[in-house]
């Protein structure tokens, strides 16, 4: 058994897979360690009866097509992965209860989206269009910031990219209000906040725009065989390049030299493994828990304390013994909201029924056998939202009762007859995410992207936040925040950085 590598990547989540594939394909001896027996972290599948459920992916942004490839498409291609991409060209349907309620459906494509928005909120078109115009300006500015490795010339920024600076330092809602967007249009526009986990009054405008812009511009993509297909394609990329992937390999300790640099890891069975560079796809909080405290820089511990753990979820997976046509389902994504305002949706999450409804068969008709369909409910929660009296003994009863509330709300508000057709059902909660991901309190989104700790601020500080030599971080908790696409990008970027540092490039 080999114990010395160029690179050890800890955790085969999306970031870890992309990082390991990048370093292995650059010719570095690479070992990817994963505690579970399948890759992907959240990007996996599970089977129940004749259904194979997607556990986490709603849709990927920044993929694009063969003709018009975007960042994610290119990363997978560069890493030699063949993905059977499928596309969704409606952004979402949003159903909001109450007096100011609405039921709107918005198509992808900037013109379509603006048309649909104007129809829903007459007089909103100009402001919505102006909002999207910022996407292009932001892309230009961001390219410049990236080029300068997060340290751009302030004067160039002030004169050339002033609108970017404004949207990069203000919340989504501040920017929308400045543009004169009517309240109802703002609420509809901000429907996607749950994908990033922060209500739009504290969510960086640049960050939100880049995501919404991508969904509206390119449509959304997903792999034909659920996200397990993405994970296995990356795994193959690693092993084809001579890299090793060890499953059931739980890291229990990070190893350091006396000078404070990271030099390896120890597995639960005592095996010590060493490398020139260590990439952690696991959240810094967990790395600190597995490190001798004297090697954890005080500032990193302050940062971890200053941050809020990111969102987690209750997710409900349902296999039905009837087709989506029989039920009258015509949408892939429906956001259901008890209140129109994102802040209220967030603050009152435990009393309301805010959730995302997905029907995969809408995009992939044969995702389940003929005459059946699959539903996926996502309910955002914050870590710590669990009932105080929850124990291993009342846990199953609690999660079933919760699932029933959401399914019944869906039946009532969308008119689908679900209950009588349930052939398979599985309910995941923060406890399930804690079990499979091993994250603190089952967080899924890393750290909250509150505006003080926005993607743009993290990006500026990425070389000063984490200072342990030879230890790098990637994944949903790192620079670009949560989301499949962000995790792949940070994994890929980190891989390139490590390749350069070992090979002596830039």
């Amino acid at each position: 058994m080999r114990t010395q590598f160029d690179v050890i990547v800890v955790g085969a989540g999306n970031g870890g897979l992309a990082a390991a594939a990048t370093t292995a394909r650059a010719g570095l001896s690479t070992l990817l360690l994963e505690k579970h027996n399948v890759p992907g972290g959240s990007a996996s599948t599970f089977r129940r009866g004749r259904f194979e459920f997607e556990p986490s992916l709603h849709e990927l942004c920044s993929v694009g097509t063969k003709e018009n490839p975007q960042k994610i498409y290119n990363i997978f291609k560069e890493l030699g992965c063949e993905i059977d991409w499928r596309y969704e060209y409606n952004t979402f349907r949003a159903i909001c209860d109450g007096e100011d309620g609405y039921d709107v459906k918005l198509r992808a494509g900037f013109d379509n989206f603006c048309d649909d928005m104007e129809k829903a909120v007459p007089g909103s078109r100009e402001s919505v269009k102006a909002f999207f115009d910022l996407v292009k300006k932001n892309d230009e500015a961001l390219a410049y910031v990236y080029e300068k490795k997060g340290n751009p010339n302030p004067l160039v920024m002030l004169f050339k990219h002033a609108d970017f600076l404004k949207s990069a330092s203000h919340s989504t809602e501040e920017v929308e209000i400045a543009l004169g967007m009517p309240e109802k249009a703002r609420n509809i526009m901000n429907t996607y906040w749950g994908y990033l986990g922060v209500p739009t009054d504290d969510l960086n405008a640049m960050h939100y725009l880049s995501m919404v812009g991508s969904y509206v511009d390119d449509g959304a993509a997903m792999p034909y065989k659920r996200s397990h297909e993405l994970s296995l394609a990356l795994e193959k990329s690693i092993t084809d390049a001579g890299g090793e992937v060890w499953y059931n390999a739980q890291v229990s300790k990070f190893l350091y030299k006396e000078d404070g640099s990271c030099c390896g890891v120890q597995l639960q069975d005592g095996t010590e493994l060493y490398a020139k560079e260590i990439i952690s796809n696991i959240i810094p909080n967990n790395v600190y828990g597995m490190s001798d405290p004297k090697f954890v820089p005080e500032k990193e511990l302050k940062l971890a304390n200053a941050r809020t753990l990111g969102m987690t979820f209750v997710t409900i997976y349902v296999g039905l013994d009837c087709s989506k046509e029989e039920l009258g389902i015509e949408d892939y994504t429906i956001f259901k909201m008890p209140f129109p305002n994102p802040r209220e949706q967030f603050n009152r999450r435990e009393e309301g029924t805010y959730y995302v409804f997905n029907c995969l068969n809408e995009v992939i008709p044969d995702a389940s056998p003929k005459g059946t369909c699959m539903l996926f409910f996502t309910v955002p929660l914050m870590p710590g939202d669990l009932p105080e009296n929850l124990t291993q003994y009342n846990y199953k009863k609690w999660k079933n009762e919760l699932a029933e509330v959401y399914i019944k709300d869906c039946e009532k508000s969308m008119g689908f007859d679900i209950m009588s057709h349930i052939e398979e059902i599985s309910v995941a909660t923060p406890v399930s995410f804690a079990r499979y991901l091993g994250t603190p309190n089952g967080e899924v989104y890393g750290y909250q992207n509150e505006n003080w700790d926005s993607v743009i601020n993290r990006s500026q500080a990425q070389f000063t936040d984490f200072t342990v030599p030879h230890l790098h971080y990637c994944g949903g908790h790192s620079v670009m925040g949560d989301g499949f696409s962000s995790a792949y990008i940070t994994g890929h970027d980190t891989g390139i950085r490590v390749v350069n540092s070992i090979k002596g490039g830039k």
Partner: protein
């Protein structure tokens, strides 16, 4: 109307964002972070799904000739993991060099796990049954056993199943139903159970006294004994036929749960279609160890009796001899190589491994792989048979 613009926003705010963030971080106390097992979600996850549990045999009851129940009690202060009636635990055994695992349904109630920190397993002697015979011959009071957390999906799900479960049990397949009956009587499951228990003779009936006592005190549980080769007052004669099921099933919807020997499954395959039940109302317990693949019509011809399997684990390779009639998992275990395994029925994926060369036969009815696994060479060794020399990468137990 004015063109929308950002003129009211201040770009200079951006210049302060970095320093503000830095100041906020530096003003925060560098407290030690909570340990992972202190977070509520992690605490419950660890309690329900421990990596392993070490238990001790504290009681043995002879249920019938060649059938014993073993009470397994936690050996530490950590509570034993709770479960849902119908779940199984995996027992780890070492017989000489042979390392093997076996799943056994829990026959005790969830309440007993919660209150007394114990599970009861019931083991029946089988001709040539390596694990069961070993347990019956070797386990005594005080024997320490390493077991898995409870697992499996043969459970009552209130959002999916009908209010009444018609349980079709055969022989020692009664065990998960005993647990379910107790859970209903304890109020831990909200369902009605109409149990049809098929046995050859009255001497083969297990748990009769316990089941009768539950029926006595709980009107949600009813049991009908069905004997194929014997007579007993109040019992039905014959098999678990469609006609018999109709006789005892309630009006309206009901769920059928099935657990028993292969012969019973084969017979029910001819009977269940006569009932016209929707698929959602039929639940099978796992099929168990797959035997005699050669008997299947799609099994290829001219397969050698013996082949070589090269087992790779963390880069180290070992080559072993294998009988093509054994599953790949069994051959690996016989060679004393520790390998992960749970359901041993092709379903749970715990043994999932990568076939890097050679051909295997996977019976269609137990092929529980994920779609993408087909494309990337993954198989479940617990229900895959080698057809040629093969190389397989397994992951450490």
């Amino acid at each position: 109307m004015k063109k929308p613009s950002l003129r009211t926003l201040n770009p200079a705010k951006f210049l302060k964002a970095g320093p503000n963030r830095e100041a906020r971080i530096m003003a925060t106390e560098a407290k030690p972070l909570p340990k992972l097992n202190e977070y509520p979600a992690n605490k419950i996850a660890i309690a329900l799904h421990p990596k392993k549990q070490v238990v001790k045999v504290t009681n043995i009851v002879e249920r019938a000739s060649g059938v014993k129940s073993y009470t397994l009690k936690a050996t530490t202060d950590t509570p034993i993991a709770y479960f849902s009636a119908g779940q199984y635990i995996v027992v780890n055994l070492q017989i000489g060099d042979y390392l093997l695992t076996r799943p056994y349904s829990i026959s005790s109630s969830p309440k007993q796990a919660q209150v007394d920190n114990e599970y009861e397993l019931t083991v029946k002697r089988v001709d040539g049954g390596l694990a069961s015979n070993y347990i019956l011959d070797n386990w005594t009071i005080g024997t320490e056993v390493t077991i898995s957390a409870p697992a499996g999906n043969f459970t009552y799900e209130p959002l999916r199943d009908a209010k009444t479960v018609v349980g079709l049990a055969g022989g020692s397949g009664i065990t998960p139903f005993v647990s379910l009956a107790k859970a209903i009587a304890d109020g831990d499951e909200d369902a009605n159970l109409m149990l049809l228990y098929g046995c050859a003779t009255k001497n083969d009936m297990l748990f009769k006294d316990e089941l009768d006592a539950i029926c006595e005190k709980c009107d949600k549980v009813k049991v009908v004994y069905v004997l194929s080769n014997d007579k007993l007052e109040g019992a039905e004669e014959g098999f678990l036929s469609a006609e018999l099921i109709k006789k005892y099933a309630p009006e309206g919807d009901y769920s059928v749960f099935i657990c028993g020997p292969q012969g019973m499954y084969n017979y029910l395959d001819t009977q269940l279609p006569l009932l016209g039940l929707r698929k959602k109302f039929i639940r099978h317990e796992l099929f168990g160890e797959y035997r005699n693949p050669q008997a299947n019509a799609d099994y290829p011809e001219c397969v050698e009796k013996s082949v070589k399997i090269t087992v790779v684990c963390r880069g180290d390779a070992t080559t072993i001899e294998a009988d093509t009639n054994d599953t790949i998992l069994v051959s690996i275990e016989k060679a004393g190589i520790p390998a992960p395994a749970r359901c041993r029925s092709g379903s749970c994926g715990w043994c999932r491994a990568k076939l890097t060369s050679g051909d295997v036969y996977i019976p269609k009815d137990v092929d529980g792989r994920k779609l993408a696994d087909y494309d990337y060479g993954y198989i479940h060794p617990c229900c895959s048979f080698p057809l040629s020399d093969i190389t397989i990468e397994i992951f450490k137990k």
